[in-house]
């Protein structure tokens, strides 16, 4: 198996310094000034240790120096090909190195970093035209890791690599790449956005025997969910459709030219009122139309967040207006079963309001099929 490795050597450096991330050369300088030492090498070493001898059997391709090669050499692994990068490296180097590695016929791209790195990897793979086909695994090493592309911890990443090396690549599933805007975050605004999807190989533990025949979130499954929901839509109601591939299937079915990554507003008859709308626009629409309001959401990533990740455009005011009856969650059963902690969560920014949703929510899992799933703040 050929694996390409890209490391963001500055990942996580802003955490201890309270910088809420490490994006931008200024942050790195500030962190270094605060005497934060990069912790990425230790996490890489833990991963290689868990991977064991299987790592020797992998053909490694890597970005130069601290962006990949150094870690491989420290673990005693040979590197087949080296991609040159600038030093000190910047986000642009991650994107370029990823794009180059993707062009070398690798089977898997392994990266170490946080959400910002995941975004750069996504962009690099898009540049190479393989973002929706090349399997990617993230070694968690950042400050923010809202994205679903990361292993739970370095040991888990190493174990997964070992299994993939020994047993071949399993089925992949769509994994969200999420990131906060760090400048906004530093101003106290939390507004993570869904930037796209990468292909995450499912670990054999999660890979069920019949997986190849029952792929989670397959097109047919999403379409069944969409059809079921569409049949119950009321013409004189306002629907705010959140981001994600499951809700996208609903837009496709209705023939609405909405967005995969943003929140779209439409009437029950399929009339699109606003595309990729902001919080302000959505609140104005709700004010103007004065019809029953429905939120159509899908949990993002393995965190189980129905609201509060990638769809902050939907404000507490809108959630309150929609209420329990107007909150609709769509998700294939396999997605629910893979949630960390097994519960759905709501983080609208108004903790008191969120707590009102504690208990169970009906989740549409198929055509005229629902399940009651626990919700916990």
């Amino acid at each position: 198996m050929k694996i390409g490795l890209v490391v963001n050597p500055w990942a996580g450096i802003g955490g201890p310094a309270g910088l809420k991330g490490s994006d931008g050369a200024a942050s790195v300088q500030a962190a270094l000034a605060a005497c934060s030492l990069p912790h990425v090498p230790a996490r890489l070493a833990a991963m290689f240790e868990a991977c064991g001898e299987a790592a020797q059997a992998v053909s490694w391709y890597a970005a130069d120096g601290a962006m990949g090669c150094s870690a491989l050499e420290a673990a005693g692994l040979d590197v087949c090909a080296v991609v040159p990068v600038n030093w000190p490296s910047q986000a642009e180097d991650t994107r370029r190195a990823t794009c180059t590695l993707a062009g070398m016929g690798i089977d898997l791209l392994l990266f170490a970093g946080g959400d910002g790195t995941a975004r750069d990897v996504l962009q690099g793979l898009r540049d190479a035209g393989v973002a929706d086909s090349l399997p990617v695994l993230g070694l968690p090493a950042g400050v923010k890791m809202q994205s679903a592309v990361f292993a739970n911890h370095p040991t888990a990443a190493g174990q997964l690599l070992r299994q993939l090396q020994q047993h071949g690549l399993a089925v992949c599933s769509d994994a969200e790449v999420m990131d906060l805007d760090e400048d906004e975050l530093r101003c106290g605004l939390i507004a993570p956005r869904l930037h796209g999807y990468l292909q995450l190989p499912l670990s054999p533990k999660l890979t069920q025997g019949g997986k190849a025949r029952h792929v989670s979130g397959s097109g047919a499954q999403r379409m069944a969910i969409a059809r079921s929901f569409a049949e119950a839509m009321e013409a004189r109601s306002l629907y705010l459709v959140g981001p994600g591939s499951t809700t996208q299937a609903l837009l496709d079915l209705l023939g609405v030219d909405g967005t995969l990554l943003g929140v779209d507003a439409l009437l029950g008859d399929g009339t699109l009122l606003a595309r990729d709308a902001s919080r302000r626009e959505l609140e104005d629409l709700a004010e103007r139309w004065q019809v029953p309001l429905h939120l159509v959401l899908s949990p993002i990533g393995g965190q189980g967040l129905v609201l509060g990740r990638g769809n902050q455009q939907i404000s507490p005011r809108l959630l309150r207006a929609a209420g329990r009856r107007g909150l609709h969650v769509l998700a294939p059963p396999d997605k629910l079963m893979s949630l960390h902690g097994g519960v759905l969560r709501i983080d609208s920014g108004d903790a008191e309001l969120d707590a009102e949703f504690n208990g169970y929510l009906p989740v549409t899992t198929g055509y005229r099929e629902q399940t009651m799933w626990p919700v916990s703040v």
Binding site: Q159, P204, G210, M337, P362, E369, T371
Partner: protein, 528 residues
């Protein structure tokens, strides 16, 4: 290792050196020779032809075939050879220690009961005979109904359904008819079930037109009562639930589930397709259910017969009895009659009165055992299951998720996730390797909530030696997974068919369950 040592080792490990027959046998249609016949029917003598005229002419032209049926043309001995060869490429219930197909309740189906059903007086019965000429069969139906009433505690029974799913369909139809009779059918459009219940429950509810809400287990593996309470509303038509569920864990709080649904005006339907652990021990009536059903081919030892014929016994309370399928067997002044079930009946669920030969087999089995014998069946089934669980859990890498330390009823959903993580060998691989030793093995319904699942149900039919043989196969394969995982992952090695490409079975463009479909979809495109 020489051959004798090899045999000795296998004997010691109780491992058979099994190899399935391989005949490389074509599909029967490919064996057809134009004009070849099994029976040469003599020409009709002229006198007879003259006397009968053209009998076919009495049929309307639209009812007559334009072309002869496209059946294979073969001599009798070639037909016999063909099916015997296929049977040897198979692994039937009478050939193997059939405990690996959990939820199916594979038990011994006594051959003498088959012989009874094949007696001319039984085999030549015609469903259109007048009631007066089938008093014996009607009496058998009546007596089996009375046994089902006793076993379930319910007030009324219909044996018309020709299988478990048909019985569930009947029960869901009764639910709908009941709500219609109360003017609530439009309002009550939801049926609640659990993920570990019989999947036919959700399927039949949907077929009848209901929306299905599925409850997942709580952390201990019991159906989540809080989730049920959140799901129950004025829209609830019914709860359809299995107990024990596929995990083998008995839900002792079932009464609370039933009460919560009744309080909202819904009905409660107990899926007892498999009641093998509960005969004479626990009844649907005491748990408060309105309806239940039994599969005679599971608990009551009639053959599974490759998908039928079978019988599903539908049992109801007196309040729901008017909705049972029609006709019903009734004894009027010492004579049995088939009577219409009345205006509220859901009507026919199957033609005539169902599969009489199956009812007879079940009757023979029940009468051989008696009431105490039925209870003993369940006690031994539960004992066998817990012996098996005790032994299987000694295998490194196998576990029984949920309810730790609790015994199971008649079956267990195990998990091989420990072994899979250590070796990469999946439960499906283990099942295919099990075929190399001549035993069936089944994982679980989808979705796999228990990772790397295996569902094993020993029933009462197997001896300790039989169970030990199956346990030995599991232990041997687990050892192989550690010493030679490739061997397990590339199994089966001793079977005529290697891994089936499941992808084709799920593709409507390519699946073919008839010869005609096979030719249309695959033959002409050269993909065959």
């Amino acid at each position: 290792m020489n051959a004798m040592d090899n045999i000795a080792t296998h004997r010691k490990q109780q491992m058979r050196r099994y190899h399935q027959a391989r005949w490389d046998e074509p599909v029967i249609f490919e064996l057809s020779q134009p004009g070849e016949r099994g029976v040469l029917v003599p020409e009709v003598e002229p006198e007879i032809a003259q006397a009968t005229g053209q009998p076919l002419a009495s049929l309307p032209a639209t009812m007559r075939r334009q072309r002869p049926p496209a059946l294979p043309e073969m001599s009798q001995n070639r037909v016999l050879r063909h099916y015997l060869r296929l049977s040897q490429e198979n692994l039937g219930a009478d050939l193997n220690v059939d405990v690996g197909q959990g939820t199916c309740t594979m038990k011994y189906n006594p051959k003498i009961n088959d012989q009874l059903a094949r007696q001319p007086g039984m085999a030549e019965l015609h469903p259109r005979q007048p009631d007066s000429s089938v008093q014996g069969m009607l009496e058998v139906i009546d007596k089996v109904e009375s046994v089902m009433r006793e076993v379930s505690g319910m007030d009324a029974v219909s044996l018309q359904a020709r299988g478990g799913s048909q019985a569930i369909f009947a029960n869901m139809s009764i639910v709908r008819a009941w709500h219609e009779s109360r003017g609530e059918a439009a309002q009550r459009d939801e049926v609640i079930t659990t993920i570990f219940s019989h999947p036919s429950d959700a399927a039949c509810a949907k077929l009848v037109g209901y929306k299905v809400i599925t409850i997942y287990p709580d952390a201990d593996g019991y159906p989540d009562l809080a989730a049920l309470k959140a799901a129950v509303s004025q829209r609830t038509a019914a709860l359809v639930i299995t107990n024990p569920e596929d995990t083998g864990i008995f839900n002792s709080r079932i009464r609370e589930f039933v009460d919560a649904v009744h309080a909202a005006g819904g009905l409660c339907v107990y899926d007892q397709a498999n009641a093998n652990g509960l005969l004479g021990i626990a009844r649907a009536r005491e748990a408060g259910f309105d309806l239940c059903h039994f599969n005679l081919h599971k608990t009551f030892a009639t053959p599974h017969a490759c998908g039928g014929p079978a019988v599903g016994a539908v049992c109801s309370t007196a309040a729901l009895a008017p909705f049972l399928p029609s006709p019903l067997v009734r004894n009027k002044s010492g004579r049995y009659q088939l009577v219409s079930a009345g205006e509220q009946s859901i009507g026919k669920i199957s033609s005539f009165t169902g599969a009489a030969s199956i009812v007879l087999r079940a009757y023979a089995w029940i009468m051989n055992l008696g009431a105490e014998g039925l209870r003993t069946v369940s006690e031994i089934a539960v004992l066998n299951n817990n012996y098996m669980m005790h032994q299987l859990l000694k295998i490194d890498g196998m576990s029984a998720p949920y309810a730790p330390g609790k015994r199971r009823i008649e079956q267990v959903r195990y998990s091989w996730s420990g072994l899979a993580q250590a070796t990469g060998v999946s439960s499906e691989d283990i099942g295919l390797r099990a075929a190399d030793f001549g035993v069936h093995y089944w994982t679980s319904h989808h979705p796999y909530l228990v990772p790397e699942p295996a569902t094993i149900e020993p029933t009462e039919s197997y001896s300790r030696a039989d169970l030990d043989e199956f346990i030995g196969v599991m232990r041997h394969i687990a050892d192989e997974a550690r010493s030679n995982p490739e061997l397990v992952k590339t199994a089966p090695h001793n079977c005529p068919v290697h891994r089936v490409q499941g992808e084709m079975l799920d593709d409507p463009e390519r699946w073919a369950i008839t010869w005609r479909a096979y030719q249309r979809k695959l033959g002409e495109r050269g993909l065959a």
